[in-house]
Symmetry: D2
Subunit: 421 residues, 4 copies
């Protein structure tokens, strides 16, 4: 139960924090204003283009080896070394956790460090399950930062919290696999560099429930792939990544594009999500810490009824509750990371589902308080709080709603007392 980062991880965390504070934050503030202005004005700025400053930040991060830090220890083969991670090897989950928290302070940081979803998860899938050919073709440029990827699982017509209901077909016809159907919340598809989609499709409806679906690599420009529209999350389009509704009409790719072979989508999806959930959850902690800092600063700086806001009513109690909730959630996540590192994903199912539930809930609560203490300003684009809240809200649904994850935790708990399911 040792949650301490290794010296190297501690050093990397410091470097990431400094980079965010010194390099990213000034750009982020300027960009945020520019983008808010662009949204107000309509049309003049194309938010779907990656701003020039971002390219520069990415180059700088890469030069410092703050690059692909998400690569997992033990699975990365030569990739961490080949693609520029400082130290040249992947990190354990416990080691990457504080780095993920640090990147949660900034909306831009994950991309700057080439550590953003869904590319991280997609890269991990390729790393663990991809053929050498698949790796060469897509993993290398992803880690290089030359291309982006998207992940297409959720469908508009079914309750996607039960992934066995997915209906898009991925039928093997000779040497090809042919996809027909519709996905949405295909995250990352709006990015100008997006070149590859990881698509979950139904291959064999007669197979056992969890062996029916395949995970298929579909190049973005394959005929029949059409982005019908981009979806917003509570008003935010999350440019330049975005979430697309995508139709697949007789989309034909070689059968060798199926990752790990037909029928293994569930196995892959599970493996993909463990560390990813630690990343997400720790970013939520970073977000919550930032919100608490803003709340304290505002609470001390502004005065009403003759007192600093922080001293009015229940505000100090809420600050304490925020600190307690954040620290509790962080420790819960570190524990899940440590379980992943020591016993693997299969032994950490309950722990990983637990953080999926707890982290966004804590973040939402703290951010909501921070918004409230900021008054109207807290809801506006002058502060990152509205965006932060929306991000946390979305995480309560992304990768499975709270309710499904609570179901997992309860199933394992009751299983200890003999329940069959």
């Amino acid at each position: 139960m040792d949650f301490s980062p290794s010296p190297r991880a501690a050093e990397l965390t410091d470097a990431v924090r400094s980079f965010i504070r010194d390099e990213i934050a000034p750009v982020e503030d300027a960009l945020q204003l520019r983008q808010a202005e662009a949204r107000r004005a309509g049309g003049e700025v194309d938010l779907w283009q990656v701003p020039r400053e971002m390219h520069e930040l990415r180059r700088k991060a890469r030069r410092q080896g703050l690059w692909n830090l998400f690569l997992p220890a033990g699975h990365e083969g030569p990739y961490a070394e080949r693609f520029g991670t400082r130290g040249g090897t992947g990190l354990s989950n416990v080691d990457y956790a504080p780095i993920a928290e640090a990147t949660g302070w900034s909306f831009l940081a994950p991309y700057v460090f080439n550590c953003n979803a869904p590319d991280t998860g997609n890269a991990e899938v390729l790393l663990r399950y991809g053929s050498q050919e698949q790796k060469d073709r897509w993993l290398d440029p992803l880690l290089e930062g030359r291309i982006r990827s998207a992940f297409a699982m959720t469908e508009p017509g079914v309750a996607s919290s039960d992934a066995t209901t997915m209906q898009l077909t991925a039928v093997v016809e000779g040497d090809d696999v042919v996809l027909n159907g519709r996905k949405w919340w295909t995250t990352g598809i709006g990015h100008p560099d997006c070149e590859i989609l990881l698509v979950m499709g139904l291959t064999d409806p007669d197979a056992p429930k969890y062996a029916r679906h395949s995970m298929v690599l579909v190049p973005r420009d394959t005929p029949g792939v059409k982005v019908e529209r981009m979806l917003d999350t509570m008003g935010f389009l999350d440019e330049p990544f975005g979430h697309g509704e995508v139709s697949f009409t007789n989309v034909r790719v070689p059968v060798s594009n199926i990752v790990a072979g037909p029928g293994r989508a569930f196995e892959i999806a599970q493996g993909r999500l463990g560390p990813g959930r630690v990343h997400h959850a720790m970013r939520m902690i970073g977000l919550a810490e930032r919100a608490l800092r803003l709340a304290c600063e505002r609470g001390l700086a502004r005065t009403a009824f003759g007192q600093p806001l922080a001293d009015l009513g229940g505000n100090r109690e809420r600050i304490a509750e925020a600190r307690i909730a954040i620290d509790s959630a962080r420790l819960l996540i570190l524990n899940a990371a440590w379980k992943l590192d020591t016993v693997g994903a299969a032994g950490a199912l309950s722990e990983v589902s637990a953080i999926k539930v707890a982290a966004p809930q804590v973040a939402q609560q703290v951010i909501d308080f921070a918004m409230q203490i900021h008054g109207g300003a807290g809801l506006s684009s002058d502060f990152p709080l509205a965006g932060a809240w929306t991000a946390a809200r979305a995480v309560r649904l992304a990768d499975g709603p709270d309710e499904v994850h609570k179901g997992v935790v309860a199933r394992i708990e009751l299983g200890r007392h003999g329940a069959a399911r």
Copy 2:
């Protein structure tokens, strides 16, 4: 304690409900899609223009006398009759409450019926405190629907929850009053028909605390009035009304533009807010009812893990909690309305503050559940839930944050036991 609407009010409520269902809803759905599309596309559609269909709906509503229904019984003089309210007289708060709830089902309805904030509150101010000249000049066209108004109180530089801190100056110089300073969250200023601003300014810093400020009528086109930018609420600009940050630089208007004379801003603001809070709160109930309906429909229509979503986990409990919370809050509001009708604003301070706290909280809770049961769709523009949630969130700050209103309720409660404040 009779909360039953009068027969006339019941008839009006039915008419409003039918009008919303038959006339407004189809337009609203189409407009929402068009606007979401416009936001995605950027720039082609000017969301700050009132869509053609809206003009038509307003004409139709007016012809049916579903117009200015907010006008309060007993204060409206000949206005309800002159400006087309069916029945020709104003309504009590208890009578208007179910109408307000009905309009809460639609984002467009309040404007269609000429019953939208901040125009209703501004009209009430003019009705109760305005000189005949002020009424003729601004109240008539407001009730006619020819012009719109804005309300400028909150300031960016101070904690506006304590309104005594307002710093914009409104200095009487001879026959003029001169305004200098900056406001934000000036709601309504974006509307193309906005012609008049109600501005709260500091006139006499040496007067007793609650007699320092004045409420000034400032025509929108007065030199020195500048909209610096429009503010968003969690990504929503609330076009075509909008919330502006407005600078006032040597803005000079006749002293006769001060409502009720210098130093009476607090008195006016208090009088303005009682019925307005009932309206807001009942609209929150309508919003919550709509969200609950959507949640039930989705919960029955979609299936996961072999069961309707409604039957999974704690969903039925949440549906019950939503019903209980909505009904409790509605009754609390009706009680506040009844107190306003029977003992007046001064005797209903606690009750009005209570609904200001309770209503948006209930709405938020129910809408959040509805979003969750919709999955990703619930966060998107395909459903009105994200907008509804944001509206409810904003109400927790608008017209004073929750915390200030809880302070009022506690002060009155403790006063019953001898507390001095």
Copy 3:
């Protein structure tokens, strides 16, 4: 939707309040100390005897006609007049509600006014479903106050929240009905005057689910009825009424002791519970009001860190939340009472279940806060708060747990949208 009590009910409420304040409260305080002392000392005082002062209070209440006020309008025949209710007729639910709230301020008042559970519910059963012979034999002395009764439904071996699982048998053999089995939480059986039990038993296991059970009147002294032990609720035995675990061994009574005939227990139980739940819920409101008063008084009287406790941290917010929650719950109950009066129990199912959920929850929350602001004293017998909390906690289970009632509310809500169940 008129929740105002009639003038007679208002007058009775005032009389009840005065009687509690002037007559009962002094006795109650003295008794509470004596009983706490008795519990500490062990054995000297028999808490299962009705204290002498209680007899005197009951005589006085009866002389003033504050007696059997629970008798329902329209069903009471000549009983209200014959047995001393001031005004001589029963009261509607809306009229009785404020009286029930008033009695909630005191643990003794319900018994003093001959309005205590389970006698009220048992009397209602006899009134509505009893034969004339049953009424003459048991209802008259109950209303007279000469005997007490008990209610035996819950069983130790099954999940009694699903009452169809009850296993005690009540088999018709010729002119007799023979009972065998075990009940617990048989409330009232400890009272020295308890002479009659209302027992729910399984008569015909092959009948339709809700027609299998009968409600049988069993005299306390029938051979085979044995109180195995008295049960405590969080340490409280609720003397002198108490809750017994009772075994029934070949208990034989005439078949004419079955209320309304075999197989009608569910119908009777439902009819029994509607008004009773209004009474319970309003008593919870009285309890919560008393707790809030104590909290305010303590909050103003005690000082820490240089300020009255009421002004520290979030205490004022909690006082406001308590006021809002109490008022909301009271209105919800009045609405349920009004529905019962106007459309009857069948049309008020959801409303009655809603108050069963909401009222004890609000009471618990307010009492918990009051305990907290009292410090250690709040948990001790020096204040009525610990007993009040326990009473509210027990109501969350008595007459069906929260969860079952939420299920009813959800079923009706979903039914509006087409759900079959």
Copy 4:
């Protein structure tokens, strides 16, 4: 951040768990029934006597070296060795934490292992601040298990959450210190072996605020010490330890009985509470785990509406929430323990206050759910849940109410942003 127990601590934890399961649990169940029966019957059994079985258990525990395990590493001098702790040295907070959790599963275990409050805290005070003479006279027999002690701090007349308000005087007169005043919630004074009281008294009202009070060792049989009555906590007297209201009338002891000299009570109280709060908090975790186990077992064993209770409504969600909350709180406590071990009490103020708030809250929530799923049985003495809930409730007030501890956490948090207090 290594929360793993040492091999020795792990071995001790296993031994403690086995001892509780095999030796204590059977006795505890039997005793609980006997005591519940005694309370019902009144008077025959003297609950203030230590049952014979307890003496036997204590002897057995001591023989196995499961004795005085609470003794802190580094401060225990030769005591752990002299008084029988297996391994002969004290344990770090991280090492003792899982042992404390294990003892939380049983109400008797802390006493059986000679690790019960307030004796542990009092022993620590003597260990750290006592003179050799004080240690010889009272610490040795305490660790030996021959005597018990009490702690007298809270007073009935003041808000004891602000300990500077304590009014009992402890005036130095020549070679004596003379105590006059009244304490309550003097825990431990009811025990037949109680021989020594640690009393906080006001010595110099003119000294700086935190240097006015002294901590005085007062033998139980000193003339003028009178137990006025024993106090109950929500009906529980916590025999045979109990909480007394104690008057001190001209109680005269040698000035050498002042621990560490006059005016140092606050310093001592602070030092006393750090590890003690870890113990309390971890016992809360043990209690919560036990409640969750009971809830799962009952939820699987009982059926209603055709399904195991665990599968009804939101029960699985609540099981998951319980698991998440317990694990979060445990980690938070381990972190506080680790801070205490690595940076000391002064550096762990916020962490220790945080667990004081979080642990009983989690325990209450989980126990309340467990009670609910047990139905009426959950509130009765047939299960340990009612007692467990009450214990958790009391911890929210003991050693300072939640609100005071939130104040500490907030003060430290705001201090990081420059707040002066």
